[in-house]
Structure formats: C-alpha cells, structure tokens
C-alpha cells in the first residue's frame, strides 16, 4: 500500500477540486483531466427517493476497484487515476462516486474515465437500497443498459 491510495471506499463526502489537485500533483505533462461525479437522483423509475443506502463487500470492493483502475492504465496512456466510492446513507443530490483520470491528451482521458465507470457499475460489489417518502424500501435492480455498456469495452 502506498501512502496515498487511489481507491477509496468511504462514508465521508469528497471535494472534487481537492481530489483533482492531489491527482495532478507530482505528474508532469498532463494536458487533460476528466472527472465523473455520480449523484443521488431524487427520482428513480418514476418514484421519489428520500434516502439511498449503499452497501458493499469490504475487501472485495477495494480489490475490484483497483483491478478496474489498473486495467484502464493498461489500455490507455494515463498519468494518474482515482476512484472514490461512498457507502452508507445518502440523500438526493449527494455525491456517491468520483472517477478522475489525467492524461496528456483528452481522448485517452475521456475513454478511460468512461471505461472505469462502465466497469465499476457491473463489477464492483456495491448494492443500492432506496427508501421512499412513505418509509418503504426497495433494492435497486441492476440495469440491462449497464451490462450493455460494459460490452462496448470487450477486446
């Protein structure tokens, strides 16, 4: 483990600018930084959401995220990359996940960030549970479109 890990699974919120600044530090020749922030939507499949709970598989989650990150570095010429995924209870508009990558040129940065998100969606062991205003709960179903998105990157 290095002093600063590029995969973080945490309860705490994150600040986009701060994380991007850290990600750029110590790297020369960066021309492009692409970042993705996933946020809690206030509506899912037509229903109002009041709370979103994120469960994960400690140990396996970090390993899965690191594998996806390393795979991105093998496929594209990246200078650095970072994945932060929050767990626990969140409200609408809260930030859930951050993926940020740096590269010399924008093409690699856009592709790699998109790839990491698509793979994270179908390969990292997180599960979402929604609570509605009336107190009822529902485990979020996996989306077919996420599985389709992943196939785009098959070699």
């Amino acid at each position: 483990m290095s002093l600063y890990s590029f995969v973080k699974v945490q309860v705490e919120d994150f600040d986009l600018s701060t994380e991007v600044k850290i990600l750029r530090t110590g790297h020369k020749d960066i021309g492009a930084v692409v970042s993705f922030v996933g946020t809690v939507r206030d509506i899912n499949e037509g229903d109002d959401i009041s709370v979103l709970e994120l469960e994960h598989y400690p140990g396996m989650t970090e390993k899965a995220l690191e594998n996806i990150r390393l795979e991105a570095h093998e496929r594209w010429p990246l200078q650095s990359s970072l994945i932060i995924h929050r767990i626990g209870e969140m409200q609408p508009c809260d930030q859930i996940v951050l993926v940020a990558v740096t590269s010399r040129h924008r093409e690699a940065a856009f592709e790699a960030a998109h790839f990491i998100m698509d793979y994270l969606k179908t390969n990292a062991p997180f599960w979402k549970k929604e609570t509605f205003p009336n107190g009822e709960t529902r485990w979020v179903d996996a989306r077919v479109t996420d599985k389709e998105a992943e196939t785009r990157w098959l070699k």
Partner: protein
C-alpha cells in the same frame, strides 16, 4: 472451515450476514449451494433457481464449479448496483 457471506437482498431474505461451515463436505461451490438450498423455500429460491445469484470466492468472481479449500471465504449476492 468455510466462511460464508450474504449481501444485500440475499442477507435480508436469508436473515443472515455470515456463518461458518465445515469444509470437509464441500469440494465445489455447487456442493455448498446444494446443501444450503435444503434449508427451506427461501434458501432454495435464493440459491438454487436464481439466475441472479452472484458468487465470489476469496474476493474474486467465481462460479458454481469453483473448487474450494479450507479457509476459503465464499460470498453470495445479487447483481451489483453501485456507481
């Protein structure tokens, strides 16, 4: 011993987050599943006939055919929905 973990809807439906099973009886994940499915209808539905069942052994994606060794950690869970 084998360490068995259940996550998300599986944990809720089966009413259990983890348990230990003696390893001697189980050559593959399929053997574990067969045994657990005998515990009742909820177990059978979740572990036997469920196309949504996902399996991990020692933090890596696995299948029903994955072979087991003493001390292995086996997890059962639904398709992931993070991000």
């Amino acid at each position: 011993m084998l360490e068995i973990l259940y996550f998300a809807s599986f944990r809720e439906v089966l009413g259990k987050a983890q348990e230990e099973l003696p390893v001697e009886n189980y050559k593959t994940v399929e053997c574990v599943l067969k045994d657990l499915a005998g515990r009742g209808e909820a177990w059978q539905q979740a572990l036997k006939d469920n196309a949504n069942l996902q399996i991990a052994v020692n933090h890596s994606v696995a299948t029903r055919q994955t072979e087991l060794n003493p001390g292995d950690e086996i997890a059962f869970f639904p398709p992931v929905t993070g991000g």
